[in-house]
Symmetry: C2
């Protein structure tokens, strides 16, 4: 079998060949706290962001709203260190355990998943407290 | 402020207005076991799949590969019952706790995230056992 090499990819072949990036060159990453298994956020990576994450051990994403690489915590200080990286059966999603400094959400909550649906009333309610004032998180910007 | 109503949406307004579906009309859903918090899979929903999930309490997805609605477990019997549904700060990802019958992965493993990266060697290894032979899961098809 001839191996197809992608010379322009910054990723090791073993990883590149196992993954399927979408039509925008992105893959979703589920980010989980290594301390207690809480799901903190979902973010997107391109090949470069994933390569930087693996090389440096600091989580790096592709910001779709800002259309640029985004090293988590670069403005808020709320960094994430890579502990464990898994991929799913289709190779189109990552599950990454991290050591989170402070909080993951830009609202100052620990997790981005702080709104919960009541199936009866169909209303959403906030189920997580703000731990850090976002003004303090981003005051250096 | 004038509320924009989407008369063709099968979703309640409270939910529809809080969510941002992508350019394909889809939103990713992280599926977590309610028993022990294990991440089982990531799947995609369109408005109809989400509405059916909320109404019926049985997890329903949009299969991108088959381009049709997919009631989880319809061929394998490995169903998922809705326990809790949260959304993230941007409204573009769901986190859903489920009661999983049997296994979530079509390979017969409990979770789809069964491959783990060794950062040193850059190799992937399988870290979860097959619990049910996939031939048995799909023998009725």
């Amino acid at each position: 079998m001839t191996k197809t090499k992608t010379p322009t990819s910054p990723l090791p072949d073993t990883i590149r060949q196992a993954l399927r990036f979408d039509e925008h060159g992105l893959i979703p990453a589920i980010i989980r706290s290594n301390d207690d298994g809480e799901i903190l956020m979902l973010a997107w990576m391109n090949e470069e962001a994933l390569a930087k994450t693996i090389e440096s051990g600091n989580l790096c994403y592709w910001s779709r709203s800002r259309a640029r690489l985004w090293r988590k915590g670069e403005s808020s200080g709320q960094r994430q260190r890579l502990v464990r990286l898994r991929l799913d059966c289709d190779g189109d999603t990552l599950l990454i355990d991290v050591e989170q400094t402070g909080v993951a959400c830009h609202t100052g909550r620990r997790s981005c998943f702080f709104r919960e649906l009541d199936r009866g009333t169909k209303q959403l309610s906030v189920v997580e407290k703000v731990l850090i004032d976002p003004k303090i998180l981003y005051e250096s910007e």
